[in-house]
Subunit: 805 residues, 2 copies
């Protein structure tokens, strides 16, 4: 069970424990403080009383005494608080706080087991893909006390920096306190190394333990410890959570130190699902040069985030659901805020340290966070915060830099991450340890991978970028954009409005040289690698004006409410007639893909001519273009057979005339259930299949991606879908269709190439699934190519956890 879910519950104190103790001496204060903590924690966690009630009572007492920290309360205050807490419990639960330590223990144990099924545990598991059937454990142990005075304290230590990965101890220490004070971020901690001054002996001992633990576990560890009157107690240790950067830096250092092998590093120490965090942009240097931030805080989780401020987890979740980018601002966060935190671009708190709940969750989830920005006065009730005179209200844009710990008003420009800069050839960036770590592990994985990794790229620039990031070809080159742009749209409209085959041919003739030039650029950028070109897919009405706008415009002109020349009006009405004619109830299931190719003879032939002539042109110059021509939206073998029968001779003629040797493959997307179910028959006419898992998921589930916004979040929350089927392949349904297609496609045509070009190609779990299916390659967006490369390697090595640690 990952750390954020564990709960420490103290039991064993009761009225007898403080019987006859006056509320005066330090040891009396300690006793009452311990009892107060126990009642508060037990009341909240075991008996289910709203924690705010205790906090409010505590705040009121501190306010009344005009002090800031719990330690400044005297024993009499604490005694009163115990009494207040107990009456809160009585009032809210109808039962008194239990006095029998055994009963306390049993209730506490039950509460821990019960916590497995609470909403935040469920949220956490769903988000992290942890099975609901694992269950949790309870560990019962004797207490030590960090709140026994100035020679006592408590802390959290990491053997290395969990944020940067740097090889030096890192953590927080808090004098005269118990563990929950550190984690809750209520009191301000001191950096761990201050222990050298405060508790020199315990510090030395802690460092020795750290060393021993790292040698034992061969990994960075985190340690919870308490110093009780000078004596160090380790409460627990486990493998430390870390940022994505730290994963790579620590792995590389440990390989260099000889602690682990590169294989171990690649297999277990770096998480494919977190790699893309490293590609997150940071705030552009020139944007902040000489600029004073609105506020400063702790750099709790790296990366820059730009979003509109919201002040509650529910708002964060609701705004995000309707597509808003938000930054969640809170005084501090607690586990009940989890759903809102993971919906946010970034998190900002005004209290809490680098190990506060906000910081831990943010790092774990790869969400940029600035914590403990104490110049900020949060007023979550009235939905704004203030820094001095400045007021930032709900919906205002802010930018946070989790790497620097800074907060700015407005939307600042961001810039690529260092690893991305290194990939794109930046020499300085290539000297960083992160890049060295990436290079070494990626090179190792390169030799292990069974699947190639291609990118989805539509332009020469995208192709170059993809290649720099490690793409081994293009798995999906969409050609829609080759029909866009002022000059081209005019020709496309001519094609749409053509009343004769001759007029249509004229339009194709005009488009041909333009598209040929596009393909020359793309093939050049991907020289030596395959490029899968998808012939025109979207419905033709996408090249015409918006239907509603046009209806309104024409109606206004005809009613005399808008002026327009007679000739222009006639032209607009002609366009409107065509738009109405092409209007579809469900364009996703309408006249698009291969259906266009069939109904508009010559359209696909023109595209094939442009592709092949471009390839021939480069081949003549000594380059190595490898075009693969993909027919989209095939539902029946006959569609592909007839299309191929029309198009292959076009390619052959051009190649023959040119005298060069060039191989051109023809294949199809498998993106409709029927195509998957009839893959054996379709394979007879295909050199390759590429799974279009976006459309396949849409049709298998009957979910239109454009329309599921209204219910998908609820579906995920209520587990009505195993997970978001557009993020990770739904194995039971979509995956099964893929499996049928792979088996029967290969049985019919053993030499067929198989790949995937849906968004899932960059999702580690889906990459693992594709590896299991035996696909030849995955193709994804250029930014996710490194993720897919790592995931494809880890699929071979059998890495346990691909999505999160």
């Amino acid at each position: 069970m990952p750390g954020m879910m564990d709960t420490v519950l103290n039991v064993g104190l009761n009225d007898d424990s403080v019987e006859g103790l006056a509320a005066q001496t330090a040891s009396e204060r300690f006793a009452w403080d311990s009892y107060r903590r126990l009642v508060q924690m037990f009341g909240k966690t075991v008996m289910g009383v709203d924690g705010d009630l205790f906090e409010e009572a505590l705040d009121k007492t501190k306010e009344h005494k005009n002090v800031h920290n719990d330690v400044d309360l005297d024993a009499a205050d604490l005694k009163r608080l115990v009494s207040t807490f107990r009456s809160i419990i009585k009032k809210k639960t109808g039962r008194p706080f239990p006095q029998d330590p055994t009963e306390q223990l049993h209730l506490a144990i039950e509460a821990v087991f019960r916590s497995w099924d609470n909403k935040r545990a469920q949220d956490y598991r769903r988000h992290n893909k942890i099975s609901d059937s694992l269950g949790t454990a309870v560990n019962v142990q004797a207490m030590v006390f960090g709140n026994k005075g100035a020679d006592s304290g408590t802390g959290v230590a990491f053997t290395r920096d969990p944020s940067s990965g740097e090889n030096k101890p890192y953590g927080d220490y808090l004098e005269n306190a118990q563990g929950e004070d550190v984690v809750a971020g209520i009191r301000n901690t001191v950096p761990l190394h201050e222990m050298g001054r405060l508790q020199p002996q315990a510090w030395t001992e802690l460092q020795q333990h750290m060393d021993k633990l790292e040698k034992r576990f061969k990994d960075m560890c985190d340690i919870e410890f308490t110093v009780e009157q000078g004596k160090l107690w380790l409460l627990q240790t486990r493998i430390g959570k870390r940022t994505a950067i730290a994963e790579w830096v620590i792995a590389k250092d440990m390989v260099d130190e000889g602690l682990i092998t590169v294989k171990t590093a690649g297999q277990d120490r770096v998480t494919a699902g977190k790699l893309d965090e490293l590609f997150k942009p940071s705030v552009k240097a020139e944007e902040i040069k000489g600029k004073e931030p609105l506020a400063r805080g702790l750099n709790a989780s790296p990366g820059a985030a730009v979003g509109r401020v919201v002040f509650s987890a529910d708002d964060a979740s609701a705004w995000a659901d309707r597509g808003e980018k938000v930054i969640l601002a809170r005084r501090e966060t607690n586990p009940d805020d989890y759903h809102g935190m993971i919906a946010s671009q970034g998190i900002l708190t005004s209290a809490g340290g680098t190990n506060s709940h906000a910081a831990v969750v943010a790092r774990g989830e790869g969400i940029p966070a600035v914590c403990g920005a104490d110049a900020i006065r949060m007023d979550t009730k009235n939905k704004h915060f203030t820094v001095g005179e400045t007021v930032v209200a709900e919906g205002d844009w802010i930018t946070i830099d989790g790497t620097q710990g800074t907060v700015y008003k407005g939307q600042l420009a961001t810039e690529p991450s260092p690893i991305d800069a290194a990939m794109m050839g930046n020499k300085k960036a290539r000297k960083a340890k992160l890049w060295q770590a990436y290079e070494e592990i990626d090179a190792f994985m390169e030799r292990k991978r069974k699947m190639r990794v291609r990118a989805n790229a539509d332009t020469p620039e995208q192709a170059r970028n993809a290649r720099a990031r490690g793409a081994e070809g293009i798995g999906l080159c969409r050609t829609e954009h080759m029909f866009m742009g002022e000059e081209r749209v005019a020709e496309v409209r001519k094609m749409i409005f053509a009343s004769t085959a001759e007029a249509e041919r004229e339009a194709y003739k005009a488009l041909l040289p333009l598209q040929r030039r596009d393909f020359v650029g793309i093939f050049k950028a991907m020289d030596g690698f395959p490029v899968t070109v998808r012939l025109l897919d979207p419905p033709l009405h996408e090249f015409l004006p918006n239907h509603v706008d046009l209806e309104v415009e024409v109606a206004l002109v005809e009613a005399g409410a808008k002026k327009m020349g007679k000739k222009k009006l006639a032209e607009r009405k002609q366009v409107l007639a065509k738009v109405r004619d092409l209007h579809e109830a469900n364009p996703m299931l309408g006249l698009r893909g291969v259906r266009l190719g069939i109904i508009k003879p010559g359209l696909y032939a023109m595209q094939v001519q442009a592709i092949v002539e471009a390839a021939v042109q480069l081949k003549k110059k000594g380059l190595d273009p490898r075009p693969e021509i993909m027919i989209p939206l095939v539902a029946t073998a006959e569609e592909l057979r007839q299309m191929r029968e029309e198009l292959e001779p076009v390619a052959r003629r051009i190649i023959k005339r040119s005298g060069v040797k060039l191989s051109v493959e023809f294949g199809t997307m498998i993106e409709l259930p029927r195509a998957a179910l009839c893959a054996g028959e379709i394979a007879e006419h295909a050199d390759f299949f590429s799974f279009g898992t976006n459309d396949l998921s849409q049709t298998a589930f009957g979910f239109s991606r454009d329309d599921i916004g209204k219910f998908l979040a609820l579906y995920e929350e209520r587990k009505l879908v195993p997970s978001n089927p557009f993020a990770t392949i739904d194995e039971a349904g979509v995956g099964r269709l893929m499996q049928i297609a792979v088996q029967e496609g290969r049985a019919a045509e053993p030499k067929i190439h198989l790949g995937i070009c849906g968004e899932h190609g960059g999702d580690p779990d889906s990459v693992l699934f594709c590896h299991g299916l035996g696909l030849d390659y995955v193709s994804c967006s250029p930014f996710r190519v490194p993720t897919a490369r790592l995931a494809a390697g880890q699929a071979v090595l059998g890495t346990a956890q691909t999505s999160s640690k």
Copy 2:
């Protein structure tokens, strides 16, 4: 190979055959006529010359001579015609008419084999689902001549009336003519029994042969015969084509005559795919009482048809594709018109007899036809026809009555067919032989059928009608209409606009008693039979005004071009905002079905309450309502589990409170590919599955039924789909999904009931497929219930031909 495809080709005559023959005597005339026919037929059929060229030359000659029939031409005319025909051939093909009889024979044989692949043969096979791989045969035999003078002739005879089924010989005879003259309908034939006067001996002989043939084949036969100078020759015989009515009447008579058993009658003599022709309406008696028809012709194919006149097969096909009902009007039809004929509601010709091409095809396809309406002057070039002063132009509405042979202007009201009237209890109609035939065979099938047959019916009236037609329950009761109607829509809109759960509940409360009343009516009508109620399925925007209209209206008001009160405008704008909010890119794949039930808590619960309270009410009165509640559009098991968890207690509570015993089943439609693929899991929460093959076909193929109009016809023509997947289940894709769902659903839950409620439930081929899958029932539109009952029985008996004979 069915009869309409056969071709008689004469060969063996050449210049030598008529060498030295002057063009004078009758025998010389005969020789020249035979040679003329040979050249014309050979030129057209073997050498591919446009037949119109020969016809035009012939017409010109007749015009010149001022005669109407070929027989009125003298030998000199025929000699000239031969010469003209031969030069047409030379000019059009570049080669002379072959003189060598062996060469003629070889060419003719080749032509017959070639004809297998011509377009009309392909159309015919596609329409009748005949395999392309069968091939055809050629039969070479010596000629006899019916054109040797007045003591010769030719005819077509049926052993019983192929139109009414009456047990008396029927056919046409034509003096001094060859076979093609009868079939082509160029010359007017005399009724067959006139042979008794013209050729008494041959007539007696023919009747004897008829008797013998019926005893031999135990079926009605058709016979082509020629009388050559008084001697009868039978050219060929085969099982006679007949109308749907004749099928049943002949079958019943033959059972009564002891020629065949009821089993044979039910298995082989009646065609499920043609049965619904008998349910076609006829023109209402009072509509035509005392009304003179525009024209009269032969009652070539029974049934009434109302449509807009078109004058070419291409127009018929194109108009029908865009949803128009058309009647194809031609002077006469030929095989090239086939595609237009099958696209028409009815066929009208001004020439040709009851065995002309038009009549034969119309009867075979069950299309009403009036032929040989010779008062009509067709001007197909200018797209109109005239009767006296009356002009009927393209697009004008006409009504034809193929049972009476009459033609009327305009759209006349029609009335139910006699068999339907009998089903609905009409006593007179129940005395007809057709009804007796139906009753006897249906009763036999009833004992054989493995599958039950239900109907899709949404109202008490539909339910009663369905039951009268033989429905054994309702397989799909859609509840959309229960949210329609002025009073209800107001409440539905309240539900849609509700901002609180309370307001939503109010709307449900108002709808509840109305819907309960609806269900009482339906359950009453289907007392003792199961009624599957589908909870609300369509997207909510269907209950709001049209988007485009509203945008235009509001824009016009705001621009001052239309007047509207301030309050009303505000209200319209509020509706518009909601319409925009609910607008979906692909509503078919959007927020509908179970998704609505989940996002609108209380909606389905209200429907379940209405259903169960209605059933309880009837149960208390001693009736036997059997509600089955169906959750639509389920994609995941969890959707059904959670929905059932919410709804089943609602039902249980009502039943418990009422004190009656009532069983309510809960199940789902399987209408998404994922549901079929995960049927095992879904079955754990379902008492029944009903295959929604309409949506399953839409999602499997990625075809929106609303949008395929633009390409489906082309797809069928080019065989890009095996057949129209919305008419007959696509076995390879959709069928496979069904098979998976049946197997895995039954494996998980052996007691589960399985049915189908898509349109396919009334298609004989699909019924056969469902029988093979082992479904428990099919459900279809009330009119198709008799068809499904027959098809379900024939599936058990192993009937070879379900669609057409």
